[in-house]
Structures are given as structure tokens and as C-alpha cells.
Symmetry: C2
Subunit: 397 residues, 2 copies
């Protein structure tokens, strides 16, 4: 039962990791076509074809945009916003992979900005260029994205700096849907959120992704940031919480040759080429996909019924998570409920196919490991038995 | 040439009415399938069918959400957020009408909030209920909307109160597109943005819509608001600009029996049932549709080539706009570049069909008038010759 409840330190930052209230409010919409799928799946509202469905997914870069704003203020360069554009897309794209949608998306982008602070045209140019470059690169790997619409709003009375969101929409055959009805007896393959550049990437990635950035910013970045850039923090936060970390943004992240700011700004890696190859080329029998985002590894508790997920993430955790843990004093269990800890996609398949899944991922230069299996839960509730960095704990639904 | 440049007072509020920089940045994406259509039209990225296209449109309620937040703080009631949900949808839906898309949309919603100030579950419930109620009502009038996805993000380091955005996406036959290639010789029928409830509405509407709300808030609402609710304003605004108007939110709006706050919160009226009936039922030869939003009536300058729009909006302007003008000291010309002034949709058609367009609109209880015509522009550039409230002026592209 150690997994219940939210991290108090996280809640004091004004962020709900579990989003219980959001899930309750959205439940009023009804379940969509599939009760427990990773994304809401809708009937074909475009044409009413019972063999097709429509999925439209919304998400954004969240407060990661503040880091790009800090980089912009520190260097005068807006280029970090290219990665923010990728973050906003991948937070949608990789959720959509989890229902089996692997290509043919239209992308709509929303930029809400404080025009005086973030109205430099170079910022918008970087966001547009980042969107185009990502879509173009994905196209080379068989994942078609049409950059289809967008809105930029000057809302200085609401937004302190800048926010970047996106919506991806697709229409697909219902027969291709993955319902994430996870059963006992499956292997769990974890795909690495960072490491050396994948075949479809240009640079090393810290693995941070796009979740837990409120905590990571305030716990890693320190003296000076709050004073120099008060617009980069909530005015209601108690002063002892604001940018209280040990690092200047340009300090080196221990164990790496990158700065803390660069590591935190690593664009969220997509697994789209890998999942497309698993489903379309190798036609492997993938039974479930779980994108580890808000709520961290506790996310898997939402899928299946009476399933115990037994997962070993290994002894080595990417440097950025080690630094956050050291700076914050959080336990690994608390860390696991917020961060991906280096593994941001779980692929569930029959055990005899696990090695093939690992092989496909590694073929793209994405590290993968057979991280565990699903079992029957003795308690009847979903449970996650997680081992990471030589610690072991159990989270339950 | 009187129409060039932006209102200085508007710019000081941190808002660009013309969005020149945005149009320039987005031009990097290329024109889409139709050079000058109202919304970007994309090839069929879902299925690659050359006879179909995909339109995905993003927009939001902008800073109008601050008014719902003020209502919530003043009364403890979150119900005003139902209208904000409608605002966010209609800002997309009515733009999409202008390319001829009248039904079969999937809606994705994005709520970015400061959890401590706007995390009351009643706010999210009101947004979800408002979205559902609007979609359901539209369905009764043949406009199908599937509420298909959403994201609620706690981003207190970026957002002071709450922001509500939406994306609407549809797939349609290319043959049904309206390209807005406006020519001389067309009649212009204006549809009223407010007035008594239309057949598909429940309440009177001030006509304010969802544009110019930054100006309207600061120029109408006054003493006390800035002091009581500092979170409702940009911290960089000069104090003489912030909530400097004559009215308390609960004061009566002159010429009406509503409060100023209620009038400003009137949900944006949709014209979807009217336009659907024009195109699908009456099959009238509509040559163009112009949704008067950001940039106000200057928006028409973007459509056609060498066209002079001659438009008479009549002598009577809805009370909310009269109050903004009185409080701000703006000219009607400046007002026309920000606000719809009571007429938020222009329908362009051959003159012999104008009376039929008016008839269809009135059949829905939506006031309409033959407001003018398109002519050949002597200058070769697009021009708008606008008469409103007994003043006359010319704006040029």
C-alpha cells in the first residue's frame, strides 16, 4: 500500500501527479469505444463508418517551456524552442502509439504567450521550424505527420512567459486498435527514454521527457534564477520551494558533459518509428503499450484488472534523475511516481516475442530491455512491483 | 490609408490585433491546399484520398476565461465556465464554417490552470458540462460534434488563473470546400453576433464574442478589481492601464438589464446551424464566409484580390460595444479593428440570393441584414469602406 497518495512535496508545487480530479471530471464524457484504451477512441464522427474510429489527443510541453525561456534569456538564442515543439508533439504522438495509431496524423499547435516577454519572432520561428523538422524526420521513417493548423495567442494577463500545446488527430481502422486489456503472462519490454542518438535523432538525450519538470526545475536549478527571472515561477509558491536547487543552469550535470539546462531541455524522444516497425513491419503480437508520463510508472496501474506488473528497471538510472533525487531528497519510490527514470515506453507481448521487440528497438539505436512480466495479482487489484537502482517497492491501484 | 497600423492603446495591453508576426512565421508552413481559404486545408493525411482533405483548427477562449474566474471569485459559482467551454469551441467551429465544413467534427480540449486558484473541481466540471451541452444542442440541429479528447495541465509557474483552448478537426470532400476567393459583384449579408436567443440558444447574447476581451476587461471593469484580484492581470502592465474602467463587475450595463460581467461573459454565438442550412438544406451559392474575429472587420482585407468591401453595419451598435467605446475613448474605426460590433459573420453570395440568406438566418432567430457588396477596388488593393454608427471610414490592406 506504500504507493497510495501523492507526494506532498510535489503537491506543494501546485501540481497533481495523479490527476484524480481530472479523471473524475472527464469520466462524465463516457468511456469512448474502448473502456480501458490508453487514449479515448471515438466513433467515426467524420463519416459514420462503423469499421473506422477517430482519435484526437491533446497535450503539451507543460512547464518545460520555462526552461527554453530561461535559455533564451541567458543566451539570446531561441533555438531551444525547437525542442519544445517536439515535446508538445511527442507527448501526443507517443500516447497515440499506445492505441496502435502509428501514422497519418494531423497536428494542430497552440502557443499562448506573454507578448512582451516571449513575443520575439525568433521564438515563434523556432517553434515552427522545430515542428516542421520533426514532422519531416518522422516522414523519413514512415510516420506521416501533416502540420495542419495553429493558433498563437497574446494572453499576457494569464500567461507569464509561454506555453506550447498540440493536438494530434487520426482516423484509423478499428481492427488495428490496441485495447490495452493487459492480462497476466505477458513479457514487459522497456524502451529507453534517453541515451545516444537513435537512428532518427541527431543528439544524445538525457531521458527527462516532459513530465515532472516543475519538480525538476525547482529542485535542480538554484540561486539566482528566482531573483533574475521572477516571471519563471508561480507567485503563490512559498519562497523555500522556488528554484532551491544546487545548480546554475549552465553548470555541468554530474556524470555528463552537458549543462543542467541542456539536459533538462533534451526533447522528448519519440518511439514512433520503433512502434511502427513493431506493428506494421515485424507484425509482432503487441498486447499493450504503456507510455510512462504523468504519474510515472504508476501509470500501468490503470490497465488490466487484477494484474501484478513486475518490473526491474536496472541498477543504472540516467544522470538527470540521479541529480534530481540527490537534490530533492526524494525516495526512488517517490521518483518513480513522477519520472520515467530512463524508460518511457513499456511494450507488453507474449514472452516468446520479447527478444524480437528488443531487437527491433535496438535496430533503431534505441536501448531496450526485457524488464519484467505481468502476473496474477494476489490482492485482486492492480499492483506494480518495481525494482530500480537497487531499491524495491510495491505500488497498488 | 487610415486603417494601417495597430491601435497603440491595444498594443500597450500586450496584444497584437493584426498578428503580422504570426502570419509571417506560419507562412513557413506553406499555403496548404487552398491559397486563401479561411482555414488551412491539408491533404488527406489520414488515408491519402485525393478527393478528401483534412482541416484541423486551433483556437481558444483567450483571456475571456479571466472573466469567468472573476465571476467564480465573486459568487463562488463556477457556472460561467460552461460558457467559456462554448467560447473555445465556437472560435474554432465558426472559422471552420468558413471553409464549408458544417458537421462531423472531433473536439479536443486543453485546460491549462493554476491549480491552487482554479483547481476547484467545479470549474473542470463546468467546462466538461458546457462542452457536452453545446455538442448535444448542435447535434439537434444537424451539426455533429464528438467530444473526443482533452488535457488538463497544472502549470502554475506559467498560468496565473486558467486558460481554455480547443482544436476541432474534420475530414471532408474537397468538392465541398469554400475557397473564399472573393470577387467583385457579390452581396454581403451580415449575421448578428448577439440579440435575443436564437432557436438553438437559451439566453440573450451581448454579441461580444471572444475577441478584444483584454481591452474590454481593462476598459470597462474598474476600481477594486486590480487590487482584489492581482492574479487577473499581467504584472508588466503599467498601472494606469489595468482595470481602469468605470464599472464594478456587477454594475448594470447601460442600456441593458444585465450586469457588465454577464454581458462580457455572453458565450460566443455559433452560426453553425445557419451556415449548415444555407449550404446543405437551401444549397445557396455561397461564395465566401468571413468570421469577424481577431482584427475585427479588417479581417476581410485578407480575402480576394483588388476587392473593395462596402459594408454598412447600421446605426445601432450593441450596448456592450457602446460602453467600451465610451470608456476607452476609441474611435469607431479603432473599435472596428478589434471588435465585431454586433455582426460576427459575413456571408458573400450573388445579390439575387441575399434575401434568401437573410431569410434562412431569421428562420433560426438570428438577425441578419444585407450589409453591402463587393466592388472592384480602384487602388488595386483590398479595401474596406465601412459605415457604422453614423461614421464612415476606409481601411486598406
Amino acid at each position: 500500500m506504500g504507493g497510495r497518495g501523492e507526494s506532498e512535496s510535489y503537491r506543494r508545487l501546485g501540481v497533481s501527479a495523479s490527476k484524480d480530479d481530472v479523471h473524475r471530471a472527464v469520466a462524465a464524457l463516457g468511456p469512448g469505444l474502448l473502456d480501458r484504451a490508453f487514449c479515448r477512441v471515438n466513433p467515426d464522427v467524420f463519416h459514420g463508418d462503423p469499421d473506422h474510429c477517430v482519435v484526437s489527443h491533446a497535450d503539451g510541453a507543460g512547464t518545460k517551456s520555462i526552461l527554453a525561456y530561461l535559455a533564451y534569456r541567458l543566451t539570446g538564442e531561441a533555438s531551444a524552442f525547437r525542442g519544445i515543439a517536439q515535446d508538445a508533439i511527442v507527448m501526443n504522438l507517443d500516447d497515440l502509439l499506445c492505441v496502435g495509431a502509428t501514422s497519418g496524423f494531423v497536428v494542430a499547435s497552440i502557443v499562448n504567450r506573454h507578448a512582451r516577454r516571449a513575443g520575439d519572432p525568433a521564438i515563434l520561428d523556432a517553434l515552427v521550424a522545430g515542428t516542421q523538422a520533426f514532422a519531416s524526420r518522422m516522414g523519413e521513417f514512415g510516420v506521416r505527420l501533416a502540420v495542419g493548423g495553429g493558433e498563437t495567442a497574446d494572453v499576457g494577463d494569464v500567461v507569464r512567459t509561454v506555453l506550447v500545446d498540440a493536438v494530434l488527430t487520426t482516423r484509423m481502422e478499428r481492427a488495428r486498435l490496441i485495447d490495452n486489456d493487459i492480462r497476466p503472462g505477458l513479457a514487459i519490454v522497456a524502451l529507453a527514454s534517453g541515451g545516444p542518438a537513435a537512428r532518427y535523432e541527431d543528439d544524445w538525450n538525457s531521458g527527462i521527457g516532459c513530465n515532472g519538470l516543475t519538480a525538476a526545475r525547482h529542485e535542480l536549478l538554484g540561486p539566482g534564477v528566482a531573483g533574475l527571472y521572477p516571471e519563471a515561477a508561480d507567485d503563490l509558491l512559498e519562497p523555500d520551494l522556488v528554484y532551491r536547487g544546487p545548480f546554475h543552469p549552465t553548470d555541468r550535470l554530474p556524470g555528463t558533459d552537458r549543462t543542467v539546462l541542456d539536459a533538462l531541455l533534451s526533447p522528448t524522444r519519440t518511439f514512433a518509428p520503433v512502434v511502427r516497425a513493431l506493428l506494421e513491419d515485424a507484425r509482432l503480437p503487441v498486447r499493450g503499450l504503456i507510455h510512462i508520463t504523468g504519474g510515472g510508472h504508476a501509470k500501468c496501474l490503470r490497465f488490466g484488472r487484477g494484474v501484478r506488473y513486475v518490473v526491474d528497471l536496472g541498477d543504472d538510472v540516467p544522470a538527470v534523475f540521479g541529480a534530481i533525487r540527490s537534490a530533492s531528497g526524494r525516495s526512488w519510490m517517490e521518483m518513480a511516481k513522477v519520472f520515467n527514470l530512463g524508460w518511457r515506453m513499456l511494450v507488453l507481448c507474449p514472452p516468446e516475442h520479447a527478444a524480437a521487440v528488443v531487437g527491433v528497438a535496438r535496430g533503431f539505436g534505441v536501448e531496450a530491455r526485457v524488464a519484467g512480466a505481468t502476473e496474477l495479482s494476489a490482492s485482486g487489484s492492480n499492483e506494480l512491483a518495481l525494482r530500480v537502482a537497487r531499491e524495491f517497492f510495491v505500488l497498488s491501484a
